[in-house]
């Protein structure tokens, strides 16, 4: 029986294959991205199909801001916004009751729709628009979100993405982060599509009410003036299309309309309430 006098020379590459991890990475990362994009697309596609079938009554009633407006003036503004929205909605609409909430304390120009048929309008928004037409465009846009059941679509998409995140990102690893980023980007792509759809529907509603869609770009022009970067702010992470793109779309919808039609101004009392010259 002989014992070794020295260590044996073992061949390399048995316990370590010396393969390049980069190839491994590219294949797996590519496959994961493709899979997440494909699944996100399926979720988004499915959500937009399923949402209209969900009865409107099932939507949870979500709203923000003061439910009862304090001052008399705020009360009047809230009623005015409510009435304008009511006028814009087609008479044969399936969704009968829309609640408009007036947020007098928020300076940022913003309006948003939440599930259960709620529209919120901030003080900053009223400062931003010049005429009733401009305000009506925003209200019609938010109503379009509700009519097209976008709050439900969003909710379904979020449920779907939470499930994907559970499968891949449950251990909070970098692969999970890749998945979540990709999921978020596709969610935003769907969000931009929904904004475009809402713009399109809003123009139709304006045409039905005023007979034209002039003044619809007022808010976006205001955004451009206050924020120079906003014009082409377009990216995979943006929830809305670039402001410039939206203005161009609205302009393209006005072709052939009578350019001499005057815009309907905001009521005098409202101009005064906003500390502006009528």
């Amino acid at each position: 029986m002989s014992f070794p006098k020295e260590n044996p020379q073992l061949p390399e590459g048995i316990n370590n294959q010396h393969d390049n991890p980069f190839v491994d990475f590219v294949i797996m990362a590519g496959a994961l991205l493709l899979a997440v994009v494909a699944i996100s697309f399926l979720i988004g596609w499915g959500a937009t199909r399923i949402a209209p079938a969900v009865p409107f009554e099932w939507e949870p009633n979500l709203s923000f801001g003061p439910s009862d407006v304090s001052s008399e003036q705020d009360q009047r503004i809230a009623e005015y916004l409510q009435q304008l929205t009511r006028d814009l909605i087609p008479h044969d609409a399936d969704i009968s009751e829309i609640n408009v909430h007036w947020l007098p304390d928020i300076e940022a120009a913003n309006a948003f729709a939440t599930s259960g048929g709620n529209i919120h309008v901030t003080r900053g928004l009223l400062d931003a628009v010049k005429s009733e037409n401009g305000l009506a465009m925003v209200l019609a846009h938010e109503y379009a979100h509700i009519e097209l059941r976008h709050p439900v679509v969003l909710m379904l998409e979020q449920i779907g993405h939470t499930l994907i995140a559970l499968v891949t990102g449950f251990d909070n690893s970098s692969a999970g982060a890749i998945t979540q980023q990709t999921g978020f980007i596709s969610l935003m792509a769907f969000s931009r599509d929904m904004e475009r759809a809402a713009d399109e529907r809003a123009v139709t509603l304006l045409n039905a009410y005023y007979g034209h869609s002039r003044g619809s770009e007022e808010l976006f022009e205001h955004i451009l003036q206050t924020d120079k970067d906003a014009a082409h702010q377009w990216g995979l992470w943006q929830s809305h299309p670039a402001t410039q793109e939206r203005i161009e779309f609205l302009e393209s919808q006005k072709k052939g309309e009578d350019t001499h039609v005057s815009l309907r101004p905001l009521p005098d009392w409202l101009e005064k309430a906003l500390n502006r010259e009528p």
Partner: protein, 152 residues
């Protein structure tokens, strides 16, 4: 956007430096393995009769090797698809060989001829928040057999 840039920079740094340190480490391992080849490392418990009158003492070698960011990402991707994690295999291979080399170096300083009853111990340390592999410690230990001056 910034997150993505940070991620890509970390990935590139991890890949570049990880590859560099790995190839440098392997070169040093090959070289030292050749130099220390004469100190045989044997897992057998009972040494052959020629060592019966030798002195003996415990020798050990340990090393902690950290994973690079790139390998963590590859491994976490592997965790979704399943399968062999090549990135970690090379890490453990390096750690084991390094631990044996350090044990051999200790034995050489003691003037040992050979090391018997060699065993390994592997543990994971530095469990970080990302739950990836922080670093891995490998300990190799055995009994060094040292020739006594009067044993011949």
């Amino acid at each position: 956007m910034i997150e993505l840039i940070v991620f890509l920079v970390l990935l590139a740094l991890g890949y570049g430096f990880g590859r560099l340190s790995e190839s440098r480490h392997y070169r040093s391992i090959f070289q030292r393995e050749q130099a220390l080849r004469s100190i045989a490392v044997v897992p057998i418990k009972i040494p052959p009769p020629e060592y019966l009158r030798h002195n003996s003492t415990l020798v050990s070698g340990s090393v902690v090797i950290s994973v690079d960011y790139f390998k963590t990402v590859v491994a976490s991707l592997r965790n979704i698809f399943g399968g062999r994690v090549g990135a970690y295999e090379s890490l453990l291979d390096r750690a084991r060989r390094e631990a044996i080399l350090r044990m051999q170096e200790e034995a050489r300083e003691l003037g040992a001829e050979t090391i018997y009853n060699v065993k390994y111990e592997t543990s994971r340390i530095g469990e970080n928040a990302a739950k990836g592999l922080g670093s891995v410690e490998v300990l190799a230990y055995g009994t060094a057999l040292i020739a006594c001056p009067d044993s011949k």
